[in-house]
């Protein structure tokens, strides 16, 4: 085991291997932790001059498997470079006397630096000649440095929930650390952590590999790991799984759903993954695919299989932590577990449907939604009235497929599955189960899908309910949650949002925007408040609460427009300042603002509007601007007459365009105002002595601001840098 240190540019370098051997790390955390390990090492190598800035990133790699986090770094210095430091002392003129003998100043400087006066030298600086002491700092061996910093690196890896194992005074980590390999240039980096002394021995697969395997270098390590049934790199494990899945499915003319999330998960659950096929009784195929797939994927982490025509096949693929299963023991075990799960599901499917979905409604009275907000049965009553109201709004707004009776029925059925055995067993299937039961029991297709989909969208990437009835029920559910919870003060805080109100608000915004639904948000909120007041337990949502909900919703809308639609803060603020009650319309205006904001005339015009607003604010005292009208005969400066005329002309044009929602064209028209506004500010003084003239000019500006701020308030727009 001799150190093989590469010689590069005359300096000795070596390869670094670091393995934190651990009891099984949760699968979902390994990738993040290995990335963090790399970043922490890179920081330390750089800070200590063991790698160079330009190559550090490429020299280090880190990866992980259930029982190990691994980092490899190539070309690490075995020793820091010696550094010569020059310390400047007193000026030469002070350090030596006339005959060139060192003065007290020189001697005390030399003493302080710990070198004889004869070793001092002189440096030329812009300020003149100075005394100088050269100090050589001898580079320290990397083994020593790493021995000091690596324990810190281990401690600095962050985990969602770490643990003690050696006692309350020991370190914390995600799971107990049982061995540590730390080698540089073939030599052990000496330190101990949580009672574990570093060494040069790794461990193989828990059941198939050796327990105490000597390794000399990163390359040797990777070879030995493989021999001992560990694929250290996740990419290797993923590709082994993917290859085996392909081989197994192509033989049977089957396929799996593309499922990268599951593939990644199983790759991090096993150190030596292999894929086996299992079967289940085809009789279970009578159960809906959603249920079978949830059991296989989410509960058992199996891949479901389907035939080419898309039908689920009575087989599954399980990923196991063994190279093979020659006796079929593992397969028999997995089949047995799946059988029990499917038997449960089938039991619920049959017993739940001994009564109709709607017959579960009375049982919802026993399920509390929130102690002050009554039961789910109360919530359903509110949802029904809201769903009807929404469908009526849309219908009268010209959306012909809006179905009032259907929305009402879907809302009535939406929560019934909460008290079924199936949802009790598989809570993640709420909604889906209700939809499946509704369909199986002959409810109209539209209504069944509405029940199925009404929790959607669960996130910004989740699709909407597939039909309008589903959107009505989803909105009714979410609006009620928001208004009802706010009414009793169950308002989300930074850290706590137990009723997922943020998600509800986002869902509302997403549905309205993507379906382009005509809807006044404030009217919808007050409809929800009305339903809350008229149904048990008859809670009042005050005007202030409704305003709070509106602000909360608009805040979410701003967030979505920024994060998902790429609009800038000030574009959204400008358009929303002119009203955002009709979200679809508001977004059209935001888009128009974005489109024209960088046009030649627009930036200065926006600045002028800001100026107008400032003037109006300053002149506010004693003048009620809403009562002001411009008296044309009091306009006597040519510039103010011209502005007045331009405003009337352009105002008509803009209004025409605005009426047909051609906001961009309307804004382009408005930007034509710029020369007239510029001229006005150039030539005309607003705050003149004559009260009548002054009042008239304020009126002109106020009218201008009001008239031209109905699409967006330009004074909200910052300069370009504000984007």
């Amino acid at each position: 085991m001799k150190a093989k240190a590469a010689v590069e540019g005359g300096k000795s370098r070596g390869d670094f291997l670091f393995e934190i051997g651990c009891e099984e790390i949760p699968a979902g955390m390994i990738l993040t932790a290995s990335r963090e390990l790399k970043a922490l090492l890179q920081k330390q190598f750089l800070a200590n001059g063991l790698l160079e800035e330009k190559s550090a990133e490429a020299s280090i790699e880190a990866f992980g498997a259930p029982r190990r986090l691994v980092a490899i770094a190539r070309g690490v210095r075995m020793r820091q470079e010696d550094v010569t430091r020059e310390i400047t002392g007193p000026p030469k003129s002070v350090a030596y006397d006339q005959v060139g003998e060192p003065t007290r100043a020189a001697m005390s400087f030399a003493e302080k630096q710990g070198i004889p006066v004869s070793k001092l030298s002189i440096v030329n600086t812009p300020k003149g000649e100075y005394l100088c002491a050269k100090q050589v700092v001898i580079g320290r061996p990397a083994l020593k440095i790493l021995g000091e910093v690596l324990p810190q690196v281990i401690l600095e890896i962050s985990w969602p929930r770490s643990m003690y194992w050696t006692g309350a005074h020991g370190p914390r980590f995600i799971r107990p650390i049982r061995w540590i390999v730390a080698l540089l240039g073939g030599k052990v980096v000496p330190f101990s952590f949580a009672g574990v002394q570093t060494g040069s021995h790794t461990e193989g697969h828990r059941f198939l590999g050796k327990k105490h395997i000597p390794v000399k270098s990163p390359a040797d390590y990777e070879i030995k790991l493989k021999k001992n049934f560990v694929l250290g790199r996740p990419a290797e494990r993923e590709s082994k799984i993917a290859t085996e899945i392909r081989a197994l499915t192509s033989r049977g003319g089957l396929r799996t759903h593309e499922d990268t999330e599951l593939l990644r998960l199983v790759a991090y659950l096993n150190e030596y993954p292999s894929v086996i096929v299992g079967d289940f009784d085809p009789a279970y195929l009578a159960l809906p695919d959603e249920i079978l797939l949830t059991v296989m994927r989410d509960h058992q982490k199996y891949f479901g299989l389907e035939s080419r025509n898309g039908e689920l096949a009575p087989h599954f693929l399980a990923v196991i932590n063994l190279p093979k299963d020659p006796k079929g023991l593992v397969r028999a075990g997995h089949e047995r577990v799946l059988r029990a799960r499917f038997a449960d599901a089938q039991f619920f499917w049959q017993t739940d449907q001994k009564i109709k979905l709607g017959d579960y409604l009375p049982k919802l009275a026993a399920v509390t939604y929130e102690s002050r907000l009554g039961s789910y049965s109360d919530k359903v009553a509110r949802m029904r009235s809201l769903a009807r109201w929404l469908a009526e709004q849309w219908f009268s707004g010209g959306v012909s497929q809006a179905d009032v009776a259907g929305s009402d029925r879907a809302a009535e059925l939406a929560k019934c599955d909460l008290v079924t055995g199936m949802v009790g067993e598989f809570p993640e299937l709420q909604g889906v189960v209700g939809g499946l039961y509704a369909r199986a029991q002959g409810e109209a297709e539209d209504i069944a899908w509405a029940v199925y989909d009404h929790y959607k969208p669960l996130g910004l990437d989740d699709p909407l309910p597939r039909n309008l009835t589903g959107c009505a029920v989803a909105l009714a559910d979410k609006l009620d949650s928001l208004v009802a919870c706010f009414a009793v003060g169950a308002v989300p805080t930074g850290s706590s949002d137990p009723f997922a109100l943020r998600r509800a608000a986002q869902g509302i915004v997403k549905i309205i925007l993507e379906r382009k639904l005509p809807l006044s948000i404030s009217a919808a909120i007050s409809a929800a408040a009305k339903a809350l007041k008229e149904n048990a337990p008859r809670i009042e949502a005050s005007e202030a609460v409704q305003k709070q909900v509106l602000d909360f919703l608009l805040e979410r809308a701003r967030y979505i427009l920024r994060e998902r639609h790429g609009f800038a803060y000030d574009e959204i603020n400008a358009a929303f300042a002119a009203g955002a009650d009709d979200l679809v319309d508001a977004v059209d205006r935001v888009a128009a603002v974005k489109a024209i904001r960088n046009m030649k005339n627009f930036v200065p015009l926006a600045a002028s509007f800001k100026r107008i607003r400032n003037i109006l604010e300053k002149s506010a005292s004693g003048i009620d601007k809403s009562q002001l009208t411009v008296q044309a005969d009091l306009l006597w400066e040519p510039a103010e007459r011209e502005l007045y005329a331009a405003a009337q002309r352009i105002g008509e044009e803009a209004t025409r365009k605005k009426k047909v929602r051609k906001y961009r064209e309307a804004l382009e028209a408005i930007s034509e105002l710029r020369p007239a506004v510029d001229l006005f500010f150039d030539k005309v003084l607003v705050m003149v002595e004559d009260q009548n003239v002054r009042r008239n000019r304020v009126a002109l500006l106020a009218g201008l601001l009001k008239e031209f701020s109905t699409i967006a308030d330009f004074s909200e727009l910052g300069g370009e840098e504000a984007k």
């Binding site: 099984e24 770490s162 059941f207 198939l208 063994l322």
Partner: protein, 322 residues
């Protein structure tokens, strides 16, 4: 459909498992295995509990500094899981085998795996894995970090490094192994229905336990009287709280010998009565949280009192030695 099965399945059919241990032999083997590794053999606690963790041999012994190793079986009652003996896997009362190793030894995973080998599981032929599963008992103010151990996809053991018990930070850290004996026996014997498990060579699980499952399920779901159960809860809680208050008012040496253990028994009673009310559907969501908090409050006070009392005892013992 059947065609696919033939085509893609691995050539050999699933092998029959070797006839596995009977339920009682499984229990005996595991107890023997752990007693040979310095565990004392304790008996199940004689009060209804929902898990082996609630036995004072776990809940109280993991507190404080003294090393301890114990193994015991604990029939655990979970009223809401009852299925009248009609479900092949769900039971009102299942049997746990509980092991506490304090402090947790460095080779604890190996020790555990050897115990599986000792009951006839060939570790190289089965898919055994440790999957993240942190355990928490809100009623006991206890939690730990660990895994569920899966054997060919079947959960067979909860493996936990205790971090807190009764609201107390633990030092040293104990490891708790909770084996699901019914499941392991079903697996070893290759039966799909727990009631088909051979209890001994001549008697089945069904013969021993079915009546219990039927009757206690019926009581939990259909017969339990919510009003009187609630009264019992209140009474047990009040008595436990009375004891704890009395203990708190005592000074120094007077605390010695005070029945903290009785206060804990009453706390356990509350926990079971709460589970019963829950199964009966007599508790609303918010009330649920409040009742759990009431039980936890007792558990936390018991843990603190026990620690103080036994700490005092340990100091006395140290004095005698000195």
């Amino acid at each position: 459909m059947k065609k696919h099965v033939k085509k893609i399945a691995d050539a050999k059919p699933a092998a029959k498992l070797v006839k596995g241990l009977s339920f009682q032999d499984l229990l005996l083997k595991l107890e023997e295995y752990w007693t040979r590794r310095d565990c004392i053999l304790q008996q199940p606690y004689d009060i209804e509990v929902g898990a082996g963790t609630m036995h004072p041999e776990t809940f109280l012994r993991v507190l404080g500094p003294e090393p301890y190793r114990v193994v015991y079986a604990q029939p655990s009652r979970r009223p809401a899981d009852g299925r009248y003996g009609e479900n092949p896997n769900r039971l009102y009362k299942h049997t746990q085998l509980q092991v506490i190793l304090k402090p947790a030894p460095a080779d604890v995973q190996d020790l555990y795996l050897e115990s599986l080998a000792a009951v006839g599981i060939n570790l190289k032929e089965h898919d055994i894995r440790f999957e993240e599963d942190n355990w928490e008992s809100p009623t006991l103010g206890a939690w730990g970090i660990g895994w569920q151990v899966l054997l060919d996809g079947q959960e067979i053991t909860q493996f936990t490094y205790f971090q807190q018990s009764g609201g107390q930070n633990l030092d040293p850290i104990s490891v708790e192994l909770t084996y699901g004996l019914d499941r392991i026996a079903s697996y070893l014997q290759g039966v799909d229905n727990v009631f088909d498990v051979r209890w001994s060579e001549t008697v089945t699980y069904r013969q021993v336990r079915l009546a219990e499952e039927q009757q206690f399920s019926a009581y939990s779901f259909d017969y339990a009287d919510a009003v009187s159960t609630r009264k019992q809860f209140d009474l047990a809680e009040a008595e436990s709280a009375r004891l704890l208050a009395a203990y708190a008012s005592l000074k120094g040496p007077q605390k010695k010998g005070f029945p903290i253990l009785q206060a804990y028994d009453l706390c356990l009673k509350c926990s079971h009565l709460f589970n019963l009310l829950d199964a009966r559907g007599a508790i609303s969501v918010t009330e649920r949280a409040a009742m759990i908090a009431r039980v936890r409050k007792l558990a936390i006070r018991v843990a603190a009192a026990w620690l103080e009392q036994s700490g005092g005892a340990a100091r006395d013992a140290a004095k005698v030695v000195a």
